[in-house]
């Protein structure tokens, strides 16, 4: 087991129903793109969730509307959590409409995150597509905080268009670093974009890493992950060292409701981060 | 003032869509047209070629307010065509189901549609602000009726359980017994309703109605009986069409039924009560007495009291049936295994009055011809007469008051326009 999947972490108070949300107060709301916001929330009382590890997710709850699985993009030891939410339905609409001082519900953290320790000693390639960057952000910080433990670090971030890039300011900071190579590309752009254009896999040939000793973390739309993982494998990265973060319909987030099954895995419990070697036979078949 | 025009295009608090047009020339009422613009739905046409077993399900869709009436009339007509007899507990269960519809439909009309007229409210929601208890009683009564429909019919609207020959499934004693507390409470509420509506202000008007209703030797009529009139008519259901005919008028999508050679007549609670009040149950009868109802009520505004008395009756009758119930050995009487061309007609008493169904079946058990005469098509002409009298009496009223008075006069008869379309805006033209 790579990460402690225990969702408990409530301190002190009597044990609540395991699937019940815990109230958190919204501290700030930042607009990332026209349909995406980043929420910073803090526990409103003594009860709070355990500190999430990079790649884990929480179930965020809008009172009376419902829950949605949202990856954690930052977690502080003080219990502050950062989630980036895209409006794709009623729940995410409600979550996106909050203002500081509002209460949202949180339960989690759930799932297995990025096996950062396993990547030590070798090169790391991080490939993010669109909203695949938020779940990878804590991984990138974790690697940078122990930079000496890794070889070369390549980050490739692709989005549909320049206006779809999230964490824009942070990306600029990362790009200035010399100990990590950060490439950004978009599928298409106007003349005002001076960066690279092309699907995320077109940046891979430029990346410098030693394939047999490389661990790759890939997160983004399923098709983008499949293509990226195949391209990495073609470059010689061992398939069992390519990790992708899957997304499926989730209701319970703890492996009890059956919705998120993908092949042999419960994405909520066994994933969302899974080995490409285990997923490849299923990713190649439609509608698994 | 030689010419005046008053318009109301859309009658409220009636089931379905209709308008009223009154033409007044030089202070004389020339024409009263109850217009039914509810679009036609052609039930008689698409019943052709359908199995006799489908008639209860299909005809129920003529009216969401009184689907049980359609199911009862069609099932009985089919059973007569096929020579089937349904009696014992199955007959009682059908009566029980009808009690449910009478309670629900009457409570709906009394509290949600009619009472606001007497108390000066546009609807029951606003009535509830000042008279919360009355509306709560009404809703509780209505719910009791619906509970009967749910247990016996599967659901309140378009029950799925009645069929030719009986039911698909009959309730257990326990299932019916579970209704007792609600019905016992409803009996008190029904009696309270009679007291409440008897205390309303009624205009002092009487009309010369020819009342037509079913008459049964022992019971207040529901599913069985012969056709009787306050003018001495007495005939078997099979002769209904010999005496009554439907005529079509250009202003309406509904056919109007008239007594051949005699004109308009009235069906519904006033008619049923006038012809059968001695067959009411004891508590219904004493409620009628206490409310000061004479054996024959000719004031259409007091129909609300008669309706309330019928609710007392229906609740009492439901409790009687519940007391005596033992489940029948089979949920329905088996229809004959083979068919021959045949015909059958039946009338049952829908909450709004007599509902006539006649079917001609072919040797495959398929419907060759269907004839349905709904209560509102029978009352339509008579409502026009009421309106003519009202307008003649009230020519000095201003448009708004007259319009309101006309709508009230129509609501007295709880017309069901959806039914009749096979009905209202008011348009008064004065010249």
């Amino acid at each position: 087991m790579l990460a402690d999947p225990s969702p408990s972490g409530a301190s002190g108070d009597p044990e609540p129903p395991p699937l019940a949300p815990i109230p958190y107060v919204v501290r700030s709301v930042t607009t990332e793109t026209p349909d995406t916001v980043t929420l910073t929330i803090r526990p409103s009382a003594t009860r709070r969730i355990a500190t999430p590890r990079p790649g884990q997710f929480n179930m965020l709850y809008a009172f009376g509307v419902g829950e949605s699985a949202i990856s954690v993009s930052r977690a502080s030891l003080e219990g502050e959590l950062v989630h980036t939410v895209r409006r794709v339905g009623k729940v995410t609409n409600a979550l996106s409409a909050v203002t500081p001082g509002d209460t949202v519900g949180v339960r989690g953290p759930y799932g297995r995150g990025w096996p950062i320790a396993e990547a030590r000693g070798g090169d790391v390639v991080v490939i993010a597509g669109g909203l695949g960057l938020p779940p990878l952000r804590p991984a990138i910080y974790a690697i940078l905080s122990q930079r000496e433990s890794f070889g070369r670090v390549e980050v490739i971030y692709g989005a549909r268009s320049p206006k779809d890039l999230v964490y824009y300011d942070e990306i600029q900071t990362w790009r200035r670093r010399t100990d990590v190579r950060f490439q950004t590309t978009v599928d298409a752009a106007g003349r005002d974009w001076y960066g690279d254009v092309g699907v995320v896999t077109t940046r891979l040939p430029d990346a410098r890493f030693d394939p047999p000793k490389t661990t790759a973390f890939v997160c983004g739309p399923e098709i983008m992950m499949t293509l990226s993982a195949k391209a990495l494998a073609d470059r010689g990265v061992p398939r069992d060292r390519i990790w992708v973060s899957m997304e499926r319909n989730m209701k319970c987030a703890v492996g009890l409701c059956g919705h998120c099954q993908f092949g042999p895995s419960f994405v909520c419990r066994d994933g969302p981060v899974l080995r490409f070697s285990a997923l490849e036979p299923f990713l190649s078949v439609k509608e698994v | 003032m030689a010419e005046r025009t008053i318009r109301v295009d859309y009658l409220a608090r009636v089931e379905g869509e209709g308008a009223l047009k009154v033409r007044i020339e030089n202070g004389r009422v020339e024409d009263v047209e109850l217009k039914i613009f509810e679009p036609p739905r052609f039930f008689e046409a698409f019943l052709r070629g359908r199995s006799y077993l489908e008639a209860p399900d299909i005809t129920a869709r003529i009216c969401g307010i009184c689907p049980v009436a359609y199911q009862m009339s069609s099932a009985h007509a089919m059973e007569r065509a096929l020579g089937m007899t349904v009696d014992g507990p199955l007959r009682e269960l059908r009566r029980l189901l009808y009690c449910g519809e009478w309670i629900e439909s009457h409570a709906l009309h009394i509290y949600l549609l009619h009472a606001p007229d007497f108390l000066g409210y546009p609807d029951a929601i606003r009535l509830a602000k000042d008279h919360p208890e009355a509306v709560a009683h009404g809703l509780a009564l209505k719910k009791a009726g619906n509970a009967l429909m749910q247990v016996l019919g599967g659901r309140e609207i378009h029950p799925i359980n009645p069929r030719v020959g009986g039911f698909y499934r009959v309730p257990t004693r326990g299932e019916l017994e579970a209704l007792r507390p609600m019905l016992s409470n409803a009996l008190g509420l029904a009696e309270e309703t009679v007291r409440f509506v008897a205390g309303l202000d009624f205009p002092d008007i009487e009309e010369e109605y020819e009342f037509v209703a079913l008459q049964h030797p022992r019971e207040y009529p529901m599913n069985e009986g012969s056709v009787a009139s306050s003018r001495g008519l007495h005939l078997p259901v099979t002769e209904f069409e010999d005496v009554f005919e439907e005529v079509q008028v250009p202003h309406s999508n509904a056919l109007q039924s008239v007594r051949r050679g005699a004109g308009s007549y009235l069906v519904g609670p006033l008619a049923r009560y006038a012809l059968n009040h001695d067959r009411l149950s004891p508590r219904a009868l004493s409620a009628a007495h206490a409310a000061g109802l004479p054996p024959v009520v000719r004031n259409p505004y007091r129909s609300i009291v008669v309706r309330a008395v019928e609710v007392v009756y229906a609740v009492e009758e439901a409790l009687r049936i519940l007391d005596a119930y033992t489940p029948p050995p089979a949920p329905y009487v088996e229809p004959p295994a083979s068919f021959h061309a045949t015909e059958g007609a039946a009338i049952t008493e829908a909450p709004r009055g007599m509902l006539y169904h006649r079917y001609r079946l072919n040797a495959d058990g398929l419907i060759d011809e269907a004839k349905i005469v709904a209560p509102t098509s029978q009352n339509q002409k008579r409502i026009e007469d009421d309106l003519r009298h009202l307008v003649e009496r009230s020519l000095d009223l201003d448009e708004a008051t007259l319009t309101d008075a006309c709508e009230r006069a129509i609501r007295n008869h709880d017309p069901c326009i959806s039914c009749a379309t096979h009905f209202l805006s008011l348009d008064v033209e004065r010249r």
Partner: protein
């Protein structure tokens, strides 16, 4: 390699992934009609609709492949960098550029004469086949990337 002796045109071509390992005679034939050019940021390397008679081997810098129409802003669909190539329209009729190629950074490229290369390849089928074995995958990859763009992978 040092500043004193810059690589010859032949070396540049021979070291470019498209030609690396191919018959040196083919490389020399290509070099014989080629020239090395510098482009400033904003320069057009190719213009959509005009005669395509060059194969560009990018050595340094970045080139944007742009498509546009009168009724909408110009859209960059891909950027191409060192080790990559711009242009296959010189190889297939009607020999017209299908997009604009614009340098977005100062760019250095070897410009190979298309018709001449075509002529060489047709006279030496073995060279031609070997070249196509290198060249077709590049086209296939471009098609694949276009296909992925069509999938609109970030769409919800």
């Amino acid at each position: 390699m040092n500043a004193a002796s810059p690589p010859s045109l032949v070396d540049e071509i021979a070291n470019h992934p498209l030609f690396a390992g191919l018959d040196p005679k083919l490389v020399r034939a290509a070099a014989s009609t080629a020239q090395e050019r510098e482009f400033a940021a904003g320069d057009l390397l190719a213009r959509e609709g005009t005669t395509a008679d060059t194969l560009l081997l990018i050595l340094r810098g970045k080139v944007a492949l742009e498509v546009g129409a009168a009724d909408r802003p110009t859209l960059t669909v891909q950027t191409v960098g060192p080790g990559e190539v711009v242009g296959w329209s010189w190889f297939v009729p009607p020999f017209r550029w299908r997009f604009d190629a614009r340098a977005v950074k100062p760019t250095r490229a070897v410009v190979v004469n298309g018709p001449a290369l075509r002529e060489t390849l047709s006279r030496h089928p073995a060279w031609g086949f070997a070249f196509l074995v290198r060249f077709l995958p590049l086209i296939a990859e471009r098609l694949e990337n276009t296909r992925i763009q069509l999938l609109d992978i970030h769409a919800r």
